[in-house]
Symmetry: C2
Subunit: 240 residues, 2 copies
């Protein structure tokens, strides 16, 4: 099976091939093009990218460095399958850093930005109502990162992106479960926006932290992780 990697608006400028490869792979990861556990071989990626193996190799290495991909001791690289512990670790880090980003952003957003973000929230709700999980997740990202970018903290933004990158494949695979989360756990960003409008950055940060923790708790129970027995079918103990 040959894979296709969208060019989107990345190759627009005259960036080095390696940088293009990096960005396209990054986006493909977020978009769920790859399945958790899938092996990504240098030559195959290079072919999909239409380049020599060299840029693909560098790009894969970079992704592996920021833990967006797992590297086997043999050097082979694959899309990570989050274990339960890893998922909870990512969540714990997010629960610290993303509220920080909100606090930093709080003092810098203007009313126009907040209006634009309110529109995104509305679109997200519409997508949820329409039963379109991929759109719903996309709007979720759009809202949060729209805010994080306003924090004026490039390093922080990069770290948060890396965390999402790692969580990406799992969320994509489980997108129906994620979207079907009960109201008390769902990402409803209304309260955050309201707090920001009041200039209450600290409160908005607390709200987001609670949101992340609620969703983590829900998914910890609802998701089936790597190496764990399927939830429903009882017993069925025999396995190779």
């Amino acid at each position: 099976m040959t894979i296709t990697l969208s060019t989107h608006d990345i190759a627009a400028e005259e960036l080095p091939l390696e940088e293009q490869a990096y960005r396209r792979l990054r986006q493909a990861l977020v978009e769920g093009v790859f399945t958790p556990g899938e092996k990504l071989s240098i030559r195959r990626i290079a072919e999909a990218l239409g380049t020599s193996p060299m840029p693909a190799r560098t790009a894969l290495r970079r992704l592996a460095t920021e833990q967006a991909l797992d590297a086997l001791p043999s050097g082979t690289v694959l899309v990570p399958r989050l274990t339960r512990a890893a998922f909870q670790e990512v969540s714990a880090i997010r629960a610290e850093l993303e509220p920080l980003a909100i606090r930093l952003a709080a003092g810098r957003v203007d009313a126009g930005t907040l209006d634009a973000l309110a529109a995104v929230v509305a679109e997200q709700d519409a997508a949820r109502a329409a039963g379109r999980p991929e759109l719903c997740l996309q709007k979720d990202r759009e809202f949060l990162f729209g805010l994080y970018r306003r924090a004026g903290a490039p390093m922080l933004l990069g770290i948060i992106e890396a965390l999402w990158l790692r969580r990406g494949p799992l969320f994509w695979e489980a997108r129906w479960i994620v979207m079907g989360s009960p109201p008390e756990a769902a990402h409803r960003h209304g309260p955050i926006l309201a707090a920001l409008r009041r200039g209450a950055g600290e409160e908005a940060a607390r709200e987001l932290k609670a949101e992340i923790e609620r969703m983590t708790a829900f998914l910890s129970g609802a998701l089936q992780f790597e190496g764990e027995a399927p939830a429903r079918p009882r017993a069925m103990r025999a396995r190779a």
Copy 2:
């Protein structure tokens, strides 16, 4: 001027050259082998490493990806000079993540480990008294990372390491100032250890957060950052 990169205990096993290059550069960065602003060219590093340019290129790229090095648009890579804003950003992230690591580690350390860490603290105090800043900073790292490693959170550890990597060259250059910080700002890890012995992880985390914030406040005032006029010599406004 030719640079020398210590092999230390890195090349011990049969790791890929690229991985060795990556680790040696990483360590060199922490050890202050490079000056902030210094340009690191692929071929020069390759020569210092005794390899072809290829492993050096990949290693430098990886370091640049995790922001341990800055990349010019031309592709040239250099040791970052922290601006005041960047320093404060790193500190803010540290103030969130390192206490988290302490909380996670609190439930997993045994008495033996705490004893070993107490010895490190004693060594650090001795180094400070002896006026040996490099040893003092090394012991500081040893203590904190000894703890962080116990958190059992590999991703968190990787992120924290990356933050220290970025802060490394600045701290090294300013090591006399760092070590000469007043008692109320200095890194005194006694209280943290005491809290951990009582099993009060939350308290230890608060203690560390306060420590980081105190040191940040002190250095923000004491350090001279990139692009800022020297503190003492007044006026001297004329410049090219």
